[in-house]
């Protein structure tokens, strides 16, 4: 009995230690998408309106696609010259493989991603994931804020919980949202990137 209690208490201590750890302790191995995610979000935090379902995404989004990021250019929005505040953006060019919802005539789309001011641009560029991405997109045509520099004429932004990278065995990795949070909200599991794509395909055809 004593030995079992010893093992149990040891396991519990290990779990307690990992359950509420300080950042930087025993980090999981970093996959390529996670490196991009870390660099793109480092220093930026948001509150956002989550998508309640794939059906809602189809209803609200201007375009939902699966594709590959082929290039990135640095851009910015001079929010307010008076306060010298600028927001840094990465303009991602995405080669569309499949259009799940919205106009199907887009071969390449541009996606503006609000990125941290801290990492060097070369680091962000070098970390671009070589993998499929699923994008739930909002057309920025009506977005009026500050002066845009380096933005193409036609550009989208991704919903916070609408930018997912295929990380192979790890499943879909969100740039701005955790998969577990999406699963809890939608009441479904998405262990693979393909299963998440199927969810949007199904919603688009319903």
């Amino acid at each position: 009995m004593r030995s079992y209690l010893f093992y149990a208490s040891t396991t519990v201590l290990l779990l307690v230690g990992s359950g509420c750890a300080n950042s930087g302790e025993e980090e999981p191995s970093v996959t390529e998408p996670r490196n991009f995610v870390a660099l793109a979000t480092d220093g930026l935090d948001f509150d956002y309106d989550p998508l309640p379902s794939a059906a809602a995404a189809v209803e609200h989004a201007d375009l939902i696609v699966v594709g590959n990021i082929v290039s990135a250019e640095e851009a910015k929005v001079i929010v307010d010259p008076r306060s010298q505040r600028e927001w840094r953006y990465a303009i991602l060019e995405v080669a569309v493989e499949t259009t799940l919802s919205g106009p199907g005539d887009s071969k390449n789309v541009f996606v503006a991603l609000d990125v941290s001011r801290r990492p060097a641009w070369g680091e962000i560029e070098a970390s671009l994931p070589d993998a499929d991405v699923l994008l739930v997109l909002h057309d920025l045509k009506d977005w009026t804020q500050g002066e845009r520099i380096g933005f193409p004429p036609k550009v989208y932004s991704a919903y916070h919980d609408g930018f997912w990278i295929d990380a192979g065995g790890v499943g879909p990795v969100g740039v701005r949202a955790e998969r577990t949070d999406l699963e809890a909200r939608w009441g479904k599991q998405f262990p693979t990137f393909a299963s998440l794509v199927r969810e949007f395909e199904q919603a688009a055809t319903d």
Binding site: M1, L15, V16, D45, L51, R85, E178
Partner: protein
């Protein structure tokens, strides 16, 4: 039989504690914000950027919540200075963004010396973009929640999607105060840090 029973007791104990420990409410790390930074001390100084005009009381509200529910306190700077911890701004943020926190100036030892806190009142009021949602009866509560949320990021908190609390993403579903408060777990993190 005794051996089997003790094995079962041990396994039950482990699984029970493992399931509770692995719940998101207990598993959030600190600092949990995107850059893993904290404030440089326990007094959060703040000022209002010139664009923050729709409801300036929201900034005060967020700071008062921090002061009254944690060991931190606050100090108002009538003029924004280089080392003001939190500068409040209002803007049209892209997409479905309600609030945005960016560390503008990093200090040593994993600190952020100046946070820009942006709020998009139109997005907060209207939700996913349909005008029909703009007349939400929880407008003030929704705005106050995002103000408390962004300030939480500035002092080191990450998201907590597990329960109704200020660090959950999105709009509030009731006028309950719990939506404008940090969880006791997050308060524990802040009180330990500051």
């Amino acid at each position: 039989v005794l051996k089997l029973r003790s094995r079962l007791v041990a396994l039950m104990l482990v699984s029970l504690l493992a399931s509770s420990i692995s719940s998101p409410a207990l598993a959030n790390s600190f600092p949990g914000n995107s850059d893993g930074t904290v404030a440089n001390d326990s007094t959060e100084t703040f000022c209002l950027g010139w664009s923050f005009t729709t409801d300036t009381s929201l900034a005060w509200y967020a700071l008062i919540v921090l002061d009254q529910t944690t060991d931190m306190t606050y100090s108002y700077h009538s003029t924004c200075q280089a080392y003001t911890d939190a500068v409040w701004w209002e803007a049209n943020l892209d997409g479905t963004t309600r609030g945005r926190r960016e560390c503008y100036w990093y200090g040593s030892g994993g600190t952020c010396l100046l946070n820009d806190l942006w709020m998009d009142f139109n997005q907060i009021d209207c939700g996913l973009g349909s005008v029909q949602y703009c007349s939400s009866s929880y407008t003030w509560e929704d705005r106050a929640k995002t103000a408390v949320h962004e300030l939480g990021h500035a002092v080191g908190l990450g998201h907590d999607e597990s329960s109704s609390n200020a660090m959950k993403s999105g709009d509030v579903s009731s006028t309950a105060e719990v939506w404008r408060r940090y969880t006791s777990h997050d308060i524990g993190h802040l009180d330990t840090q500051y």
